[in-house]
Symmetry: C2
Subunit: 312 residues, 2 copies
């Protein structure tokens, strides 16, 4: 499980940051990549990564502002040029489907694969399958805007090989059955239970993605115990009033949510072009005073999210 930022800017592209998009890479887990928001030129950013559009199977769209959706028609069209592409599902607010369908219709784009739209309406479990759940909650923006929480299901504990050796249980095909938690009869007639030879269940990872919103209680609910929280940070720590009036958040509000909800790592995203270079670093420092594990996200930044309890 990996995250790569494709655009970390706000409102309009700058030379430093493209408009919003990030990729949740589930290649080891599902051989799939999920995108969150698709600002203009997201496909151009992807050209500079190792992401193949064929692998993008789901797109989640937080809200319909142009800097979050104007890259969608072009990305869908280009995905069509790749051979043997499967269906794609797009989760987004009302109106998104009309926008995409109109763009494809007017441009006479024949997409070579099925596109399914799922309209976000309120707080809901919007996807469950393949060992993952995705929840949304409505946030507080000028237009309907949704936050996302991706939960990986917990996995069975690891097989305790040392303990098996203590019991003189020889390596072989029965290891597979024990690992699956099954009961197995040994050659001497004894029956052993795989569950006795498994370490503790390993909790799945949690990623929370909060694009455009004012500070609002739904964010804490989506972020509870997240391994990684990606949170918009359109304004500086001392601009809470401005953030409120523009329906956005400050870096300190993001850090406060992270600190109060057992978050592992916070990434500040959706950085205004008013914060260039060192000024953007200032947002990071302000947030770190509240929550140390904060990083400023930059375009193409890349992180691996390790399983809980595994070596980092």
């Amino acid at each position: 499980m990996e995250i790569q930022f494709l655009g970390t800017g706000a409102g309009q592209p700058s030379k430093q940051r493209n408009v919003a998009s990030l990729a949740l890479k589930l290649l080891d887990e599902l051989n799939e990549i999920w995108l969150f928001d698709v600002g203009e030129a997201t496909q151009h950013q992807i050209l500079r990564t190792n992401i193949r559009l064929r692998k993008v199977t789901k797109i989640f769209v937080s809200h319909n502002h142009g800097d979050h959706i104007f890259g969608l028609p072009g990305l869908l069209a280009t995905r069509s040029f790749q051979g043997d592409v499967g269906p794609i599902t797009i989760y987004g607010p009302a109106g998104l489907e009309q926008y995409v369908r109109t763009a494809l219709k007017v441009s006479k784009t024949k997409v070579s694969y099925p596109i399914k739209f799922i309209e976000l309406t309120g707080d809901a479990l919007i996807y469950k399958g393949q060992g993952f759940k995705v929840y949304t909650k409505k946030l507080d923006h000028r237009v309907a805007s949704y936050g996302f929480r991706v939960e990986e299901e917990s996995r069975p504990g690891e097989l305790l090989v040392d303990k098996l050796a203590q019991y003189h249980i020889p390596n072989g095909p029965i290891y597979g059955k024990l690992k699956a938690g099954e009961k197995v009869e040994l050659e001497d007639g004894n029956i052993i239970d795989g569950k006795d030879f498994l370490g503790p269940e390993r909790p799945g990872r949690i990623v929370s993605i909060i694009y455009d919103t004012r500070s609002t209680p739904a964010i804490a609910e989506l972020s509870k115990n997240a391994d990684v929280l990606v949170h918009e940070s359109t304004f500086g720590g001392n601009e809470a009033k401005l953030a409120y009036s523009y329906y956005h958040s400050t870096c300190v509000q993001a850090a406060t949510v992270a600190r109060d909800n057992g978050v592992g790592m916070l990434y500040l995203d959706h950085i205004s072009a008013r914060y260039l270079g060192n000024d953007a670093k200032k947002l990071e420092r302000q947030a770190q005073k509240v929550f140390e594990n904060t990083r400023l996200a930059n375009d193409f930044d890349y992180m691996v999210i390790p399983m809980k309890g595994s070596e980092k």
Copy 2:
């Protein structure tokens, strides 16, 4: 009068070429810039030039394929962020307005200036004013596609200062009147005619822009005596059959039009991603065998179009 290529690729963006767009800079003439086609990320390309979106007053769209229009909503939205922007006029095929209006409506983009759409329908003079005329003709593409011919009106000849000196006419305010071709009474009562002291009328410049099309007679008509012809060149010289079946042109077809119609300079544009580096140069060499003044257009290439008869 200058041209800058913003995207010289075809179909989808590549690392080398963005999708279609070019700027006709009329800064000295009108303090305006006109765009021809607006593929996705045209505004991103513009970030890397000295073009200010405020100066873009007209956008001409050849046809509605995605690689020619998907940058339009984002560019219009970003133009809005610049202070004190005037109206913009968009010339394009039926359907373009619906696409743009839907994108702006769904994204709740409030554009700060009026947008006027003028629908292209057939062969027509679509603009006349400020010393310029723009003509369109329908080309032969899979969807309705239009070529453009921009004609600058001819300008009066230069004032022949040496001749005035021969006639002992002193420099002064009357020079302005003579330059305007007026009659002037001198102090000695003699009347002289400005027209006798003007050099030959200087013909205006002509720029022809031919995006996606098969070889078709309308191209010659649009290109007659053009100073600069920008012509799509999606296929190589020996792929005329392929070009025909995909409704595109070859580099040699472009060069033949240029040779047979008194064109000054030909730029090969709309280069397929199949032609990388040296292969693209091959298109140029093939065309140069037919018409020597051919150049392969690359993103950000820039050329000044001098007045006819002026020093180059």
